[in-house]
């Protein structure tokens, strides 16, 4: 019966599946920082390939890696979806994505049709099988939570976004003639930033905020309909991009308004949390939601009127701060928990407690680095000379996380090698 309905309550996938993606994401963050350090303000000029490269380092490199790691971990818990052979599946998607991303970045710098084609092929091989499998399993679920529904929509938007990316590459390569390249570019960005990344974070917050911090629940109907509404609006955006590009700013303005609402609702929930803790993860969430609210206000302003380049940069900084803050918040919960959880489940008496895996002070110091980076980035919006410094700080920020993840992994293996273990009787 459980097989038939696609349900399983199996345990989480091996810890290596999650950590390999988180570590790869952190390394991409370091690479993005080095790029910004080397290129300076050029990496933020929307008409320069350097900006395209930076954006894709942060999205395909950082965000996609963390998303896949988190989904492998969360789908069994949230939706009873345990993917078969998770280690194989993870490896078979991670390497094509890695090489596909590198080739795409090279193709942006030195456009060549075969390079674009090869990059897209590899990205397709890396992303499509795992995303389609997750989406297919999510589609068959009968008892959806707002989180699982939202993750499904977010994955759907990711697939659409990849297809539009391929379409644009086709136009650049001269194979496809239909479509307005600028409108498609806006759609690609809108779907990626709002429909994929923001919706993914919204979906995660539906579950994580209430449960980890013991807060009042999100309004039921809001949580139920928000992901569908957002995706519906973005689908309209898709139609508009092909037929009526002038309508796009209005539609995206509405999407931004709903995300602004989500940020306020989340901040309110955190304000009313019952748990006393004010650890780094709570502050990362608060910071992320404030950044999202401000970014969405600017996005709405931008859909009504032309923004100056400075405001555009502030918007980019705030949006990035939003996504990275939540990503850091999740990492500092998930990594120590999984280290303890797997060792404990394997029967090791010496399984380290969460605070021994990553001490709260380590996370707090990262918060300070992150805040300082955000501050300098906001000032840099007015003073181009500061961008290399922002890049250097980004390197420090992601190195901090990478070291924490590496040490957790190292500790895990150390306990497995040396720890005393309860014998489950051959199991």
């Amino acid at each position: 019966m459980f097989q038939n309905s696609g349900l399983s309550l199996d345990q989480a996938p091996p810890i290596s599946v999650v950590l390999r993606f988180f570590l790869a994401g952190s390394l991409w963050g370091i690479v993005a920082g080095i790029w910004l350090l080397a290129q300076g303000a050029t990496a933020l000029d929307p008409s320069a390939p350097q900006a395209l490269i930076l954006t894709h380092m942060l999205t395909l490199g950082v965000m996609l890696s963390f998303m896949l790691g988190a989904l492998f971990q969360m789908l069994p818990v949230l939706a009873g979806i345990a993917l078969k052979d998770p280690v194989q599946l993870a490896i078979r998607s991670q390497y094509p994505i890695l090489f596909g991303t590198i080739l795409l970045l090279v193709a942006f710098a030195d456009p060549s049709t075969p390079l674009f084609a090869l990059a897209l092929l590899l990205l397709g091989i890396g992303i499509l099988p795992v995303a389609l499998r997750m989406l297919g399993r999510l589609y068959r679920i009968t008892d959806h939570s707002p989180s699982s529904r939202g993750m499904g929509f977010s994955l759907y938007n990711l697939l659409l976004l990849v297809l539009i990316g391929a379409w644009m590459a086709g136009m650049l390569g001269g194979w496809i003639n239909r479509g307005d390249l600028l409108a498609l570019r806006n759609l690609h960005a809108g779907l990626g930033l709002l429909g994929w990344i923001a919706l993914l974070i919204v979906s995660v917050s539906f579950q994580v905020i209430e449960m980890f911090y013991v807060t009042p629940p999100y309004p039921k109907n809001y949580a139920r309909w928000m992901p569908a509404l957002l995706t519906g609006l973005l689908s309209l955006d898709f139609v508009a991009a092909l037929n009526l590009p002038a309508a796009m700013p209005w539609i995206e303005g509405l999407v931004a308004a709903s995300l602004f609402t989500h940020a306020l609702l989340t901040l309110h929930r955190l304000y009313r949390k019952e748990r006393p803790l004010n650890d780094a993860t709570v502050w990362f969430w608060r910071l992320g939601m404030v950044a999202l609210a401000l970014a969405m206000l600017l996005w709405i302003a931008g859909s009504l009127t032309e923004l100056s380049p400075v405001v555009d940069r502030i918007l980019a900084v705030l949006y990035t701060a939003f996504a990275l803050s939540v990503l850091f918040a999740m990492s500092y919960k998930i990594v120590p928990f999984l280290t303890w959880f797997h060792l404990n489940a394997q029967g090791y008496f010496t399984a380290p407690m969460m605070h021994e895996v990553i001490h709260p002070k380590t996370a707090l110091r990262h918060l300070a680095i992150h805040l300082a980076t955000l501050f300098v980035a906001l000032v840099a919006a007015f003073n181009d000379a500061l961008w290399p410094l922002v890049g250097a700080m980004l390197v420090l920020s992601f190195s901090w996380l990478a070291v924490a993840i590496y040490r957790a992994w190292h500790l895990y293996l150390h306990v497995q090698r040396t720890g005393e273990r309860f014998d489950f009787g051959g199991s």
Binding site: A79, G80, R275, P276, W340
Partner: protein, 146 residues
């Protein structure tokens, strides 16, 4: 939704008591922390007993599955029991750092477990069990004592 509503409500009330205990421990008010922690432990263990002695057998009888989800849930109950023991030691020793660190593991472990139950197991129970049986079951669970 009878089963879901009844047991999900218990999860939330355990969460609140847990938060109270944690608040007291963080503030170094150990007497209060001990009392709230005991409440939390008792309520949680009673909730587990209701599931293990009433809900799971009813579900297993209906679906013919004793090795599937209920087995995993029983295993996770054991993990929680283990952590309750360690937290009790920390309360006794008034060890704030150990308590807060264990509390963090406990919270995520419990929430992970609760999510699986709420999203899947309870929903399945509500679907496969006939209404009369569900009312009986809730009545029986009400009577469970530690």
């Amino acid at each position: 939704m009878q089963i879901s509503n009844y047991l999900t409500h218990e999860h939330r009330s355990c969460d609140s008591i847990f938060a109270e205990a944690e608040k007291a421990a963080a503030a170094g008010e150990w007497e209060k922390a001990e009392k709230s922690f005991l409440d939390f432990a008792n309520e949680t263990l009673k909730h587990f007993k209701k599931e293990e002695e009433e809900l799971f057998p009813a579900f297993e009888a209906k679906t013919g599955s004793t090795e599937g989800p209920t087995q995993v849930m029983r295993f996770e109950h054991e993990q929680v029991r283990g952590l309750i023991g360690k937290m009790a030691e920390a309360v006794e020793k008034k060890d704030r750092d150990a308590y807060l660190s264990l509390a963090e593991s406990m919270m995520i472990l419990l929430q992970q477990h609760n999510m699986k139950e709420e999203q899947m197991l309870y929903a399945m129970c509500d679907r496969v069990l006939p209404p009369d049986e569900k009312s009986d079951l809730v009545e029986k669970m009400e009577k469970v004592e530690l």
